[in-house]
């Protein structure tokens, strides 16, 4: 099968000069010389522990040097560590394309150098992060190491309310942060990722590819999630559309995989989980509820092209509830997501419009969740989200039946 070999000629030359390396690390967030110097200095001491007598190559964005006007005074390279400039953009959270671009660079260089492991450090660049992610792949035979973050109750709600429960129900792996930007990757997975079955890159999240290929995936406890390295758009609608698009495209791409999966399995997890403390945080949900209610008036026609009549009815009822009773039942939320997946697959309308039209319903879920968990302990929050995941799994036959037999004449 074809494997795309798009490694830039100058990078190939450099790789040829280096010859071989055991570890290749991508540092796309090091967009300045100062940052690069500091990160390299902090990571260098980890290398002898990870790979005694091994050789490492760090890929850094070629703009990091260009921005300071030249090649001079790069952190010193030696037998055990080479630095390698490469065209690389920072990884944006939930942005599959930005991760894909960096991953391909990393994995192509890794393949050229015959690396035993490639590590993408898209958000965290600490020595612990490198060590913790790399060890299970190097020492325990895993193909993919993914960070597992502790969460504050209102953190990463797109992940908690959509990404995790949906990917878990679909692919059967309890992988909490499938869209993480920090990853440790085995050569076996790298080869799969670079395969181009039809002469074109076969994109999609690497985590989904690994799970569907039956490769060994593990999680590594990494404390609380770091702040995104790149400033994120405040536009919830755009972020949501981006996430949903990536998820829904993967659902199409891997339809043959997830339709065979029943239930879900925990993954081996390394390290100690961080403990959250009870928070008395509360969120102002009024704007969200108003946005939802406005959506119920303005977007009804669009929703009706995607949602089943029963789900529409439930949303209309919800829009009439006062804030103190505002609760979006798990079953309704799951039906909304499953119906949108199907509408996206069937291209009932412009996909961009369709995905953006989901924003008010997502905000309704956030509002409902926020109201419900505001007094919950961290453990109770986890239980609550576990219940949501169970609803996604229980209702998966609904998605399966409509996927296999798409028909708008449904409940």
């Amino acid at each position: 099968m074809a494997v795309l070999d798009t490694i830039a000629p100058e990078a190939k030359e450099r790789a040829d000069r280096v010859g071989e390396a055991d570890l290749v690390v991508a540092l796309p967030s090091c967009q300045s010389r100062e940052l690069l110097d500091s990160v390299v200095s902090s990571l260098r001491p980890v290398l002898p522990d990870l790979l005694p007598n091994g050789k490492a190559v760090f890929l850094y964005p070629d703009t990091a040097v260009a921005s300071t006007g030249g090649n001079g005074d790069l952190p010193a390279a030696d037998e055990s560590l080479q630095l390698f400039p490469y065209a690389m953009l920072p990884v944006e959270r939930y942005n599959e394309q930005s991760l894909d671009q960096g991953l391909r660079s990393l994995l192509q260089v890794g393949r050229t150098l015959g690396a035993k492991i490639c590590v993408m450090m898209g958000s965290e660049t600490s020595p612990d992060s490198l060590r913790n992610l790399a060890e299970p792949v190097l020492n325990d035979g895993f193909d993919l190491g993914v960070p597992l973050y502790a969460r504050h109750k209102f953190d990463s709600l797109i992940n908690s309310g959509i990404v995790y429960p949906l990917t878990r129900a679909l692919y059967g792996a309890r992988l909490h942060y499938s869209m993480a930007a920090d990853l440790a990757i085995s050569p076996r997975l790298a080869e799969k990722y670079l395969q181009a079955p039809h002469g074109q890159p076969d994109s999609g999240w690497i985590t989904t590819k690994a799970v569907c290929a039956g490769l060994q995936v593990c999680q590594v406890n990494r404390g609380f999630a770091p702040a995104p390295s790149v400033s994120e758009s405040a536009d919830v609608s755009a972020s949501l559309a981006q996430v949903l698009s990536a998820l829904f495209l993967d659902a199409e791409r891997y339809a043959g995989c997830w339709q065979k999966v029943r239930g879900s399995q925990a993954l081996r997890t390394f390290g100690r989980p961080a403990r959250g403390e009870t928070e008395n945080a509360s969120a102002d949900v009024h704007v969200m509820i108003e946005t939802f209610q406005r959506g119920c008036k303005d977007l009804l026609d669009i929703w009706a092209t995607a949602l089943s009549p029963a789900t529409m009815l439930n949303l209309k009822k919800l829009a009439r509830l006062p804030a103190d009773q505002f609760r979006l039942a798990d079953g309704v939320w799951v039906h909304v997501l499953y119906d949108f997946i199907l509408a996206h697959r069937q291209r009932v309308m412009s996909r961009e419009h369709l995905l953006r039209a989901m924003t008010p319903i997502y905000l309704a879920w956030v509002a409902s969740y926020a109201l419900e968990v505001q007094t919950f302990s961290p453990l109770a929050v986890e239980d609550r989200l576990e219940t949501l995941c169970a609803a996604f799994e229980d209702l998966k036959p609904y998605l399966l039946s409509r996927w296999r037999w798409p028909d708008r004449f449904n409940p």
């Binding site: 039809h198 074109q200 029943r262 039946s401 296999r404 037999w405 798409p406 004449f409």
Partner: protein, 557 residues
Amino acid sequence: MKKSGSARDPLWYKDAVIYEIHVKAFFDANNDGIGDFPGLLQKLDYLEALGVTCLWLLPFFPSPLRDDGYDISDYLSIHPSYGTMEDFKTFLNAAHGRGMQVMVELVVNHTSDQHPWFQAARTAAPGSKERDFYVWSDTDRKYEGARIIFTDTEKSNWTWDPIAKAYYWHRFFSHQPDLNYDNPAVLEEVLKIMRYWLDMGVDGLRLDAIPYLVEREGTNCENLPDTHVVLKNIRAAMDENYEGRMILAEANQWPSDVRPYFGDGDECHLAFHFPLMPRMFMALRLEDRQPIVDIMRHTPEIPENCQWGLFLRNHDELTLEMVNEEERDYMYLAYSSDPRMRINVGIRRRLAPLMENNSRRIELLNSLLLSFPGTPIIYYGDEIGMGDNIHLGDRNGVRTPMQWSGDRNAGFSRAAPEMLYSPVISDPVYGYGAVNVESQDGEASSPLNWMRNMVALRKLFRVFGRGVMEFLDPGNRKILAYLRRGEGETVLCVANLSRFAQPVELNLQAYQGMRPVEMLGYVEFPVIGSQPYSLSLGPYGFFWFELQKAREQIEAQ
């Protein structure tokens, strides 16, 4: 430059869903009334959405077109009506880009009498290499044991050539002289042709009329040992230089006679299962599974790397060569009330009219096609229920333009209607106003969407392409029930061949504790117990069940 094959898996043809296409009939991009490669290219989205994975193109080579292109006068070019070689390559690459394979015809039992080889042979000296490209005789009494295939048009397998002053041999039309495989130069030329298309990246070759390659006195000139020598040479030449390619054998013979065409896995990869096809129609009409079960029980095992090619209808007549006389009479009475529907030894009709446009019958037969052990082949237009035109000559009534929309010429071409290579179907039931892609595309319950869903489901379960088949034997013979096992999957198929609802009790003791999950709607049925498993099926109803471990079993594990 030699291109590699497009498939990842060397056994890709086992999982394929093949779609048979006339280039001339599919879509006309240059508005001359004849379909072409640029037109086919425009319709790749449609084919991708249908879910088919391999496109089988009927002959598109230069030809006098006296046998719909099976009379080839140049094997290395494109018929100018269908476009250029560049157009073909563009199409081929685009199909590969969508993950589809492409199969073309290798019609090398015979050529057109207009082929330069034949023109040279007739004037060449007897005994010369040129003359010996074909089979000549001073008498028309040789090989008298060979039957005549086109009984409606040919009286003999020999035709006198006044220029050569000799008879030449032909198993089909008299304008299609048979090549002489006793001349080694013929095989050399055939291999050159094969390499030419494989170098271009073509994934599969359909070998036309292979039982007739070689003639020997005192035999019926079919399925002879020397024919297999030729095929082994062709296959060896393919394997030597090309990966992931496939040969499909057209051998309209009994399964036991077709079996040698697989060799030890060193001849053809696929071969049509001709006798099964009429028996599916017969079983449906008789409301009795016996014809199907019987022929499948007489179907021998084939090598691991080989596969049967299954079809309901194709570009030819519904051939009745592989049934006995009584069965043939029954089939004629059942499916061709009008004598004009008959041709040669068969019935020249499409699937929908054969089923009297009954959607449940059509769906039932397609469910068998898609779940039987083999690679299903769908004839273009059958997915939307296209009709035929028995008033057109030969088998042209089943080769009419694809019906894309209710617009002029069925949306097939913007040419003046009188310029079309064939009139479109325009009767009130099957005409393009009633039956077309555009109207069915957006209708969730249309035949087109039904087929899309079924093809997707078939592709989801590799057991259909790779697993073994085991018939169940319920008392009610109107019910056909079978298991497909393999690839870690077990699927139970149950079909009601009757026009009335039917009960059935199935012996599924070996699967006690498993839960049948109806595959189309993902509906869980009761767990299989120690008693016979009872089901009721509506008229022409069918079920596909995935036998899953019951939840309780999983939890216990």
